[in-house]
């Protein structure tokens, strides 16, 4: 009885994590096309949801290997218990909710890894975590990925502007039409996100089912697990993280269609290249790096380094913070069934509290539209852009 209850709890929590992952990461694909007016916010979010749903069904390769390496398991290693996975998920969900409240595009995968690592250390000791794998597979890619994506986006933006420059007048030719290309480039990012991130949840649920003996060792995720995860991430994506879209679409740098297209193509290319060659990079961090790179690629464009710094701080904190929450949750869970109940109640309390706090100053599709409309107006009248931006900045200060 106890065992089945904890399994149900883990599945529900994992699906909720998948949901937060979806609404956290809508911004990765859809912040730039919304900012340039290539897609209307509702339309963009719906498209991202459908592509995440489709993407989740495309592959189960990542799900099969999600637990491989990071936490030593199996013979000679430690036994992963559903209680530990539950505690890890509590850490991941809580951290995702907090970064959502502050509008930080932090990595959902790092929150998940952090939570699981924290729970594993408390539940099975420091030796249960392979720190060399942690550094080479999680920490270093986290540092290198945004830089690579930023450089690629910088070069791509420069190319796009150089090619469409009229040699006679030095003005742009048809650059507004890049917004049509953006629809496809952002769709590609959404699809890649669905194939990567929905699978992380599939992997966690499958791991739990295997750990409790409900599923044979070495088998892939069951169809209902795939379908549930795909639906959860699509629903989360559709619900949309308007706060984060705001930070990335208008907070980092003013984005024009050519830049948006260059940034998304760079994001998609970096993710595809890395996953094809065996690196699991965070979609969020790659997208943020690309947006900053394309911002630097356009002459006269400015990057708000304070906002960028705030985002970088969020990245640095994600893994240890989620690990700390996961560790505390695991400590409570080690008491027994009572601890699990306390965990569940506390976790639910944090989620409800954050929803209540966030409803005080709502960031909805309505407010995003008005801010984005102003940016789109600036794109359509290129001569006044710089003046407009200066005026806007002065008004803000």
């Amino acid at each position: 009885m106890d065992l089945t209850l904890i399994v149900v709890l883990v599945i529900v929590l994992a699906l909720f994590f998948d949901f937060t992952n979806g609404f956290h990461d809508t911004a990765n694909a859809m912040a730039t096309p919304i900012a340039t007016g290539a897609l209307k916010p509702r339309m963009a979010v719906a498209l991202a949801a459908v592509l995440n749903l489709v993407g989740a069904f495309l592959s189960t390769e990542v799900a099969r290997t999600i637990s491989g390496g990071l936490i030593k398991e199996g013979d000679g290693g430690i036994q992963i218990t559903p209680e530990m996975i539950f505690a890890g998920l509590i850490g991941a969900v809580c951290w995702n909710m907090v970064t959502w409240l502050f509008g930080l595009p932090s990595s959902s995968s790092h929150a998940l890894f952090g939570g699981l690592i924290g729970a594993a250390i408390v539940g099975a000791g420091l030796g249960s975590v392979d720190f060399t794998v942690l550094v080479s597979k999680v920490v270093l890619p986290a540092l290198v990925a945004p830089i690579v994506a930023g450089v690629v986006a910088f070069v791509a933006t420069r190319l796009a502007y150089a090619i469409t420059r009229d040699p006679a007048t030095g003005r742009g030719l048809g650059r507004g039409n890049f917004r049509y290309a953006q629809i496809f480039s952002s769709s590609l990012v959404a699809l890649a996100h669905g194939t990567n991130d929905a699978q992380k949840t599939m992997g966690v649920i499958t791991l739990t089912l295997i750990a409790t003996g409900a599923q044979a060792v070495g088998t892939g995720p069951e169809f209902w697990v795939i379908a549930a995860c795909a639906l959860a991430i699509a629903l989360g994506t559709y619900t949309g993280g308007w706060r984060i879209i705001k930070t990335m679409g208008t907070g980092l740098t003013d984005i024009k269609p050519a830049q948006g297209f260059a940034a998304e193509t760079s994001t998609a290319a970096t993710i595809l290249a890395s996953s094809h060659l065996g690196f699991a990079l965070s979609t969020t961090q790659v997208a943020s790096g690309s947006v900053i790179g394309s911002g630097l690629g356009r002459k006269g464009a400015s990057v708000r380094w304070r906002t960028a710094g705030r985002i970088a701080l969020g990245w640095l904190l994600t893994l240890p913070a989620a690990a700390a929450v996961g560790a505390v949750a695991a400590l409570l869970a080690s008491i027994g069934p009572v601890g699990i109940v306390i965990d569940a109640v506390l976790g639910l309390g944090v989620i409800v509290a954050i929803f209540i706090i966030s409803s005080r100053d709502k960031v909805t599709s309505g407010t995003v539209v008005s801010e984005v409309d102003a940016a789109v107006g600036a794109v359509r009248t290129p001569k006044a852009t710089r003046k407009n931006r200066k005026k806007k900045r002065q008004a803000a200060e």
């Binding site: 009229d166 006679a168 030719l173 480039s185 194939t195």
Partner: protein, 98 residues
Amino acid sequence: MIDWAAFAIVAAAALVSASVVVSLFAFGLRLLNVGRGLDADDTPGIIETTPSGSVSVVSGQAERRPRWATVAAIACFTLCSGAVLFGIYLIVPVFHSS
């Protein structure tokens, strides 16, 4: 322990593929505007800059886009979408299972 060579491959592959896709689309857009934007070397006398700084076409002989430009633009867009489809092909393992 850390595979720097693999990192270099990822960076190079991302750089090349993103540059190719963006350049192809940009060339396509540029070609579609061949008739509208005027080539300074061929027709130096027909662009006039007014004192207010705006550019106007005085004698409009090159306003229509030549056929070759349209064909080349479509070729660019086709190559660009081909590159994107190849990217989708890469992320779906079903196509690679052997």
